[in-house]
């Protein structure tokens, strides 16, 4: 068995809570045209987690570079920095029991302050920022906490309806302790009127679920004369206690 060096945490081996698929956007959301031909239509095969879903990879701090959580500088020329509204994004990765999820890899990516991605498929008019790459990553601390620095991404038009615009957002990819907790989502910004018009966001039926993806301005965490701050907590599937479970073979 592998585990974080120096950690006394006892590994948890319970199965994960069932996913509430009415809370997530369904596979088919016709207002988001790309989903039409990419959405499975047959019933999913349901079963309680086996070890293949309960286990998951561990990423150590050795993979991280010093600037991995600083998008303002990690692609910039020495002495320069990305253009835009400087922000800190911070929060915790929790599970549905409210317990912090330590030691998990979070990766994030975004458009620049003008709403342009550094990607050959993005031909939006807004210019690239030579000092902004748009990716970063970090690993949560003992309490599940994380933080990174970036510039606030701009909204941008996208080919879906004739005049659809994405609200400003940051993409998040999160690992948990089990591969069944794997999640990709997007963080939106408090007060953005585009959130409620976006066909991708509107795939989510419940207003409270959309609000759960909307980060609040956190003036206590701002750095005076430097950067504003937004707080964004991410919740992964919780897991059952394995105390009364049938023991897996060989335990």
């Amino acid at each position: 068995m592998s585990s974080d060096p120096g950690s006394n945490r006892k590994p948890e081996t319970g199965a994960f809570f069932q996913r509430d698929r009415t809370w997530h956007p369904p596979a088919l959301t016709p207002g988001y045209k790309s989903s039409v031909l990419r959405s499975p239509q047959k019933a999913l095969l349901s079963f309680d987690n086996t070890l293949s879903e309960i286990s998951g990879p561990v990423f150590g701090h050795a993979i991280l570079g010093e600037l991995d959580n600083d998008l303002i500088h990690n692609f910039a020329k020495p002495g320069e920095s990305a253009i835009g509204e400087r922000i800190i994004v911070h929060g915790r990765v929790l599970d549905e029991r409210g317990v912090g999820v330590p030691g998990v890899l979070i990766e994030f990516w975004q458009a620049n302050a003008g709403g342009r991605y550094r990607h050959k498929k993005d031909g939006y008019l807004a210019p690239l920022d030579p000092n902004f790459g748009g990716c970063g990553r970090t690993i949560t601390g003992e309490d599940g906490g994380y933080t990174f620095r970036t510039v606030k991404p701009g909204p941008y038009p996208w080919p879906n309806g004739p005049n659809d615009w994405r609200p400003a957002h940051i993409h998040f990819s999160v690992f948990g302790h089990g591969f069944a907790q794997r999640l990709i989502t997007q963080m939106y910004f408090e007060g953005d009127p585009l959130i409620w018009k976006c066909p991708i966001v509107r795939g989510i039926a419940d207003k409270a679920a959309i609000e759960a993806l909307t980060a609040l301005l956190d003036t206590q965490a701002t750095i005076p004369m430097d950067a504003l701050a937004y707080k964004f907590d991410i919740v992964l599937r919780g897991r059952r206690s394995s105390l009364f479970e049938n023991r897996l073979e060989g335990n």
Binding site: R9, L51, S55, P57, V58, N74, G98
Partner: protein, 204 residues
């Protein structure tokens, strides 16, 4: 009134979008110098134990067109059937094999190639061995929640026949959607998102 269960709700998923490469495989899409290598690009080294195999995976939409902007991750046990994970309590997995890989589909052909080892058998919840398999997780533009499925191996007929997960598939005609075809040292696996050959996806 009663007490509250005091549970949080899982963060709702949102699509990885068309620019998933920027975040997960930046070197692949020309963003160099931030990370030395793309995570999950190499799964084996000289010391990894087990039979070396390749996986050729494509993801096809409802018209049969391969997705050229998808990203596939795999998670598997080592050659002895042990996961390199704290949740693995049966023994120590091969230290030269993490068991996790990540590959974007080729921007022209839609092909994803993994070089890995064939996994050993892992026990089901009741202790019966499952057939060797690899867990797949697929994200892309147009996919609102990452898709979970498994790849089984065509040359494991006996093990596949007794696999407790494959046994749960009601429509037996769909079982082959989870079985990769062996061609030399390569297993070929097409994931169909829709249509007559729609892959069996999991809710687990």
């Amino acid at each position: 009134m009663a007490q509250s269960l005091d549970r949080l709700k899982e963060s709702p998923s949102q699509t990885a979008g068309p620019y998933v490469h920027i975040g997960l495989t930046p070197n692949f899409c020309g963003i160099g110098g931030v990370y030395a290598t793309d995570l999950g690009a190499t799964m084996v080294n000289d010391k990894t134990k087990g039979e070396r195999i390749k996986l050729h995976i494509r993801v096809l939409d409802g018209t049969g067109t391969p997705l050229r902007d998808a990203l596939v991750e795999i998670w598997q046990a080592d050659a002895d059937g042990l996961y390199n994970s704290p949740a693995e309590l049966r023994g120590a997995a091969d230290p030269n094999f993490q068991g996790w890989g990540r590959c974007p589909t080729d921007m022209d052909t839609g092909l994803c190639t993994f070089e890995t080892v064939k996994p050993g058998r892992v026990p089901f919840r009741d202790g019966r061995p499952m057939a060797p398999h690899i867990t797949l997780w697929i994200v892309a533009r147009g996919i609102n929640l990452g898709l979970h499925t498994r790849l089984y191996f065509s040359d494991e007929e006996k093990a596949n026949a007794e696999d407790p997960i494959l046994a749960r598939i009601e429509h037996r005609v769909r079982v082959p959607t989870l079985i990769a075809e062996r061609q030399g040292d390569t297993y070929v696996f097409d994931v169909h998102l829709q249509g007559e050959k729609e892959t069996v996806f999991f809710d687990s």
